[in-house]
């Protein structure tokens, strides 16, 4: 709200418009490019994710238009392959993950009472590298008219070998996919190390682990999943790259290799990835439901330990994606059991959320509506998930639209609703302004109806036998009506997203800051800062006495937190260009191997140059004063 007294407005994200007049446009842009402020990086993550989310949505709309009626040829089979590959890859790696990262960045330091993450420049590096990865993945859309081969990734988001081997997918499409995912993986892992150390080491005095907000807890679990799961796909992709580039046969049966090796490595990453997508949303819901029920989260430690259990078990279930590959009865049975086990901590969470709402003084704000929507839709997705845990049932459902329905209920009805809830909940904190509540109700209604219209019929056509990934289908199979309904639903979703974006732009453009520090009467430390927070977040680092410091301070019992009378030195690192340059070098280095697939010598020279630039950036980074 108030202009920070001893911090220059130029460093302040939400006051950029106020500072606009005082600094030139170029300087303003530069201040964003060189920022290492976790709040600005969070906003950058959010805006980039929104752009990629819209791109993934457009791909989905083309897919749904194509499938609206039987026998259509709006796009050909090859384009359709590229569309569903890019839709999946974009939504997972460039939509939901960075949107969660936006909240990690913005909220976690505030929630633990810190002034920034522990390595602010590494944080900026993660963002820029993520952006490079997103650009590399989507670059093929721009260059495809100019080249004489397939360049848009078209091997599915799962990239199964041997389909993705050079023999079966020539051209550079898979190389772009490998390169993009490697870059994104490094970005995610760098952020993972950063947040784990931040959460362990930068908590305000008195904030014990079990006093941390549940969102911060889920962030911690997710970061552990990221740093442990991503190395598996890194190796899987390296081996695939070697197969394609150097003629090895890791996955090629002709040379003794094993295609199932890819599936094991991929799903060893891929299943934890599912929890990487959903746990942040669960954390957000665990903040929103108590706030708008005016009750503490029911059994908060159980919710936290359930999250940890989900994370741990998530590493032991990967082969349930592979029941149809014939692993044998023993493997099928054990993976089936471990998969069903995951339902227990998940069920614990759902019952805890229900018990939180029970008897509460509910305020049905838009944030609350999205969280309630999350609980319902995620439960539905979870229930169809348990069906797949049974190998005989899975054999019937594998590769059918039933599975598509399942994971969209979990990832759209679950993760995306949770993230939208987070946007409505934290927007006042991030901007000092509110999103329109009246629009918000409509947006929730439109998205809720559109979502169920799109994805519920997929259960039915899936059970009726419609396979995934077919670009068209014949009439007379009984799939026409559900498919038409699904397509209508997809456009209803698109309308809802459009309304949301209009309201977002409208709200951001509003001049006056109206949100108080704690507009929702919430409980955690971020509501102690101004809305939007000052550059250094807290004038005085609070001393925390309970798991709901701000609530307890306002409503009792107990002091909640106190502000010690100290004159601590506030250290805000100066802006730095090296994170961006190092990120560009790393992306360039990895993209060189992509070029090496076409012109080997050129690629090697390019890689060496990139490595030199990278090491130079590292040294300059290290020597930069003030950090």
């Amino acid at each position: 709200m108030a202009t920070p007294a001893h911090a220059e407005p130029a460093d302040h994200p939400a006051e950029s418009s106020a500072a606009y007049g005082e600094m030139s446009f170029g300087k303003w842009i530069l201040s964003w490019i060189m920022t290492s402020d976790h709040k600005r990086i969070g906003i950058l993550y959010g805006l980039s994710a929104l752009c990629f989310f819209v791109m993934g949505g457009i791909e989905a709309l083309i897919i749904r238009t194509q499938l609206a009626q039987p026998g259509q040829h709006i796009v050909d089979a090859a384009t359709y392959n590229a569309l569903f590959t890019m839709h999946g890859t974009t939504m997972i790696f460039l939509g939901v993950m960075p949107f969660s990262a936006a909240f990690f960045n913005y909220m976690v330091p505030l929630q633990i009472g810190a002034r920034d993450v522990i390595f602010p420049r590494l944080n900026a590096f993660s963002y820029w590298l993520f952006l490079c990865g997103g650009i590399v993945l989507n670059l093929p859309f721009l260059i495809t008219p100019f080249v004489d081969m397939r360049v848009i990734p078209d091997g599915g988001w799962f990239g199964y070998a041997t389909l993705t081997e050079k023999a079966y997918t020539p051209g550079a499409s898979i190389d772009f996919w490998i390169c993009g995912l490697q870059i994104l993986g490094i970005a995610s892992m760098a952020a993972g190390f950063n947040f784990i150390v931040t959460i362990f080491n930068l908590r305000a005095p008195g904030m014990t682990m079990l006093r941390m907000p549940v969102f911060t807890w889920m962030t911690l679990v997710v970061q552990f999943l990221v740093v442990l799961a991503f190395p598996c796909i890194t190796i899987a992709l390296v081996l695939l790259l070697f197969d394609r580039l150097f003629g090895t046969h890791f996955y090629m049966p002709e040379g003794g290799g094993d295609p199932l090796l890819w599936q094991h490595l991929f799903w060893l990453f891929g299943h934890p990835e599912v929890y990487i997508l959903i746990l942040p949303a669960m954390g957000i819901v665990s903040e929103v439901l108590p706030t708008f029920s005016r009750k503490p989260l029911f059994g908060a430690p159980f919710v936290i330990f359930s999250g940890i259990t989900i994370g741990l078990l998530g590493f032991g279930v990967w082969s349930h994606h592979m029941f149809t590959t014939g692993l044998g009865a023993a493997a099928d049975a054990s993976f089936s059991v471990s998969t069903m086990l995951i339902a227990i901590p998940t069920g614990v969470k759902i019952f805890n959320w229900l018990a939180t709402i029970w008897g509460g003084q509910l305020r049905l704000t838009t944030a609350m509506l999205f969280s309630l929507g999350f609980v319902c839709m995620f439960t539905m997705g979870g229930l169809s998930g348990i069906m797949h845990a049974s190998p005989p049932v899975d054999l019937q459902q594998q590769d059918s639209y039933f599975v598509v329905a399942h994971f969209h209920y979990v990832l759209f009805g679950g993760a995306v609703f949770g993230l939208l809830s987070g946007i409505y909940y934290w927007f006042p904190k991030m901007s000092g302004k509110f999103l329109s509540e009246s629009w918000g109700r409509w947006i929730f209604g439109v998205l809720f109806v559109g979502f169920n219209t799109t994805f519920f019929p997929m259960h039915i056509v899936g059970a009726a036998g419609m396979p995934r990934r077919i670009y068209t289908y014949d009439a007379g199979l009984g799939w026409e009506i559900p498919n038409m309904i699904e397509t209508v639903g997809a456009f209803i979703i698109a309308f809802g997203v459009l309304l949301f974006i209009i309201d977002l732009v409208r709200s951001i453009r509003r001049k006056e800051l109206v949100a108080s520090a704690n507009p929702w009467d919430a409980s955690s430390l971020e509501w102690l800062c101004d809305s939007p927070p000052k550059v250094h977040n807290f004038d005085i680092t609070p001393m925390v006495y309970s798991e709901r410091p701000v609530w307890d301070k306002n409503h009792g019992p107990g002091p909640g937190y106190s502000l010690p009378d100290s004159h601590e030195h506030i250290h805000i690192p100066p802006p730095s260009i090296w994170p961006l340059l190092l990120a560009l070098s790393v992306a360039w280095f990895l993209a060189s191997w992509l070029m090496a697939g076409q012109w080997f010598e050129f690629g090697v020279c390019s890689a060496i140059t990139a490595a030199i630039c990278g090491f130079t950036s590292c040294f300059r980074w290290f020597l930069e004063p003030g950090h």
Binding site: V197, G256, H571
Partner: protein, 208 residues
Amino acid sequence: MSSAATADASHGAGHAPAAEYTVTGVPAYKLAMWTFLGSDCFFFGSLIGTYMSSRGKSLNGPYPLDVFAPAVTSCSTFDLLLSSLFMVLAVHYAKIGDIRKFTLWTLATMAGGLIFLGFQAYEFTSFVEEGLTLKSNLFGCTFFVLTGFHGAHVALGVFLLGSLLWAVRTGKLADNGITTEVIGLYWHFVDIVWILIFTLVYLLEFTS
């Protein structure tokens, strides 16, 4: 921008990595390294898993017993283990602030790493001469990728030690006890991975 820069001009000199208050008492860089090593466990776990699941599935030779020279690899293993001892000494002298002995043992550690890389280069060359290449069979590709990535880790370790030595000798790094310890963690980890590789890839072939 400028306010932060001027306010912290006093902090600009020297480089004290995350000397601020931490809740756990573990320095930030050390915790970050432990996290990275956990991640690296899965990295090498995937590679070793790939090697083990492909073991004995080569359709044609050369097979491991055709090319392995256990005496040579034992020497290089001994050399790498010895370098871990040197690393411990370097950390010790960094902590008590004896720059001269710290320099000596860091150089010794780097030499150990470089000798190991030399052994690896020799081994790779002789294997290729005997017909084992990345493309020749499944053993070739899994072996070269696994040991190649380990070699890259050793090379990075040597590079880190060299950079550390440069930063300490030129006075660019004030607090080198913690930094040396953190790089030491990495060095020992890479050694432990080699013990696994040496056991599973080399020694296992001579058991039957």
